[in-house]
Amino acid sequence: MKGMPPETCGMSRLDSAVGSMKDQDRPAGRERTVRCIDPRAMLITTFIYIAVVTSFEKFDLLGLLPLVIYPLFIMELNNLSPGAIGRKLLYVSPCALMIGIFNPLFDNRVVLHLGSLAVSGGWISFTVLMVKFVLTASAALILAAICGFDTLCVALEKLKMPKVFVSQLLFMHRYIFLTADEASRMVRAHSVRSFRRKGMKIKVFGSLCGQLLLRTLDRALRIRHAMVSRGFRGDVPLIRELKAGKGDTAFVFLWTAFFIIARCFNLPQLLGAFVMDKFA
């Protein structure tokens, strides 16, 4: 395969994205502990978690540490692979990394000495930013992996999201696999005919995307005809029932209480002081 364009040698970016979506949807079909929790409860807890994590001071690395427990607990309880989530985080980390890396450059006041190593405020705020990134992004990935996309859409509708938006999410989620598959075939066809030329010219990209768009429009028309013939009037009925019980309420309240306690009290500091007091 040496010398072949990247798309033909292995998986293209499209293939890997679609594969990743399928993988993430797959565990949602299995029976798992937190899957018994109402998706609305998971959604609300995740939002509260993210809000609490992002509310920490830019230098409060220690205070942030107890919040590691939530994603770790949910991941382990549901047999989610930390490696798979870690790989996705690595892929999207450059954005946070690129903005955060300026902190050590602009804030070089030494605030901590670890032996002979002087640590500046910028490095601490950069570390806090990256920890926040890992915690918040993994919480979102865990939410989707546990609940599954369809169930999340039902939860969004029950939480009074506009129906047309929920229908759009469901439609798009289904079409992505078809369209991406078609796009992937087109890109592969271009690659094997481009005689080892790397990349795609803008002009070629324009017509390739234009062709893909025309095929998409044709597909949309066929789908519409099929749907209208089955009684479609612009609304996708979601018949799945959601029942929130005491366990769901307890799930939200207990985790929220933990997040608030972790936000209000510096637990690692208190723990450290207690241990030092007892054993020193």
Binding site: S12, R13, I50, A51, S55, E57, K58, F59, D60, L62, G63, L65, P66, V68, V92, C95, A96, I99, F102, R109, S125, L129, K132, T136, A137, A139, A140, F149, F165, S167, Q168, L169, F171, M172, R174, I176, A183, K198, M200, I202, K203, V204, C209, G210, L212, L213, L214, T216, L217, R219, A220, R224, M227, R233, G234, R263, N266, Q269, G272, M276
Partner: protein, 350 residues
Amino acid sequence: MHMADALISPAVGGALWTATAGLTAWSAKKLNEDFDDRKVPLMGALGAFVFAAQMINFTIPATGSSGHLGGGMALAVLLGPYAAFLTMASILTIQSLFFADGGLLALGCNIFNLGFFPCFIAYPLIYKKIAGENPSAGKIFAGATLASLAGLQLGAFGVVVETVASGISDLPFSTFLLLMQPIHGAIGIVEGLVTAAVITFVWKARPEVLLLAEKSSAEGFSIKAVFVGLIAAAVITGGIFSWFASVHPDGLEWALFHASGKEEFRNPEESAHSLLAGIQEKTAVMPDYGFKNSRTVQEDATASEEQWPAVSIGTSTAGIVGGGLTLFFAGLVGFLLRLIGRSRQASPGR
């Protein structure tokens, strides 16, 4: 240009979430008022198209780098602003849930930057003005290129304002602006040309598709109403979410302070956050990585600089020990759960 949750504060994220939720509800209402059942499957299919097209890279001449289609402007031209905004919102929602590309709290910011600006600003104010009532290939090309460029520039400006207002990055506003705008100017030109190429291609092959968007685009569109709604939403939510905000002056306050010499909007005594911060202050030995006793001394120090406390080895050691123990316990919880899971798998009958 997708922002992560780690880059924004709850106040900024919450304000933009509310603004975006309002825009979503408004767009859904507008779509329902002028209902066309062709639009729903078209929106789904075009959303999937943009998602796929964003993964196909083209080579940017003479740079060695590559770019991809943004999609916001193409959707606005093909679907009209309301349907395009909802489609863009759905693409970003799926990207944040499946790929962590843009956070959940930052979803409001991302939809605003990548959906609101191209659909509700650049499309009606630039593309429609240039393309006019009787569009030609040349007018469509010029309109789509300029509108895409403007949409991307406004989106990049949004990222700068939202990040600086959150106070997470130490990058000064002007430096950040000088970094972001030229880069996105260059990307915007290329993306504009590509968007124009795709739209012109469709216009030549299927002009009726663009006419469908024309029908629902500018009728009853009031940019003034959008702005009034957005400002109201931002003010209300900013008030609520600022409870979670930092005790340090954030970027917006910093900008106000340097512009007026006063931090007029700071009133920490009255916020719920100050209550929470007060509790933490009382209980923490090392608040804000600081130390109780050293704080009063520091308050008298130079006012213009952000202050750092003096270092005490005892409290530092307590912090390091406590941090280590916290991580140890978190790991232990994970390890125990894994053991329980394995034992359950080994004996499924029980």
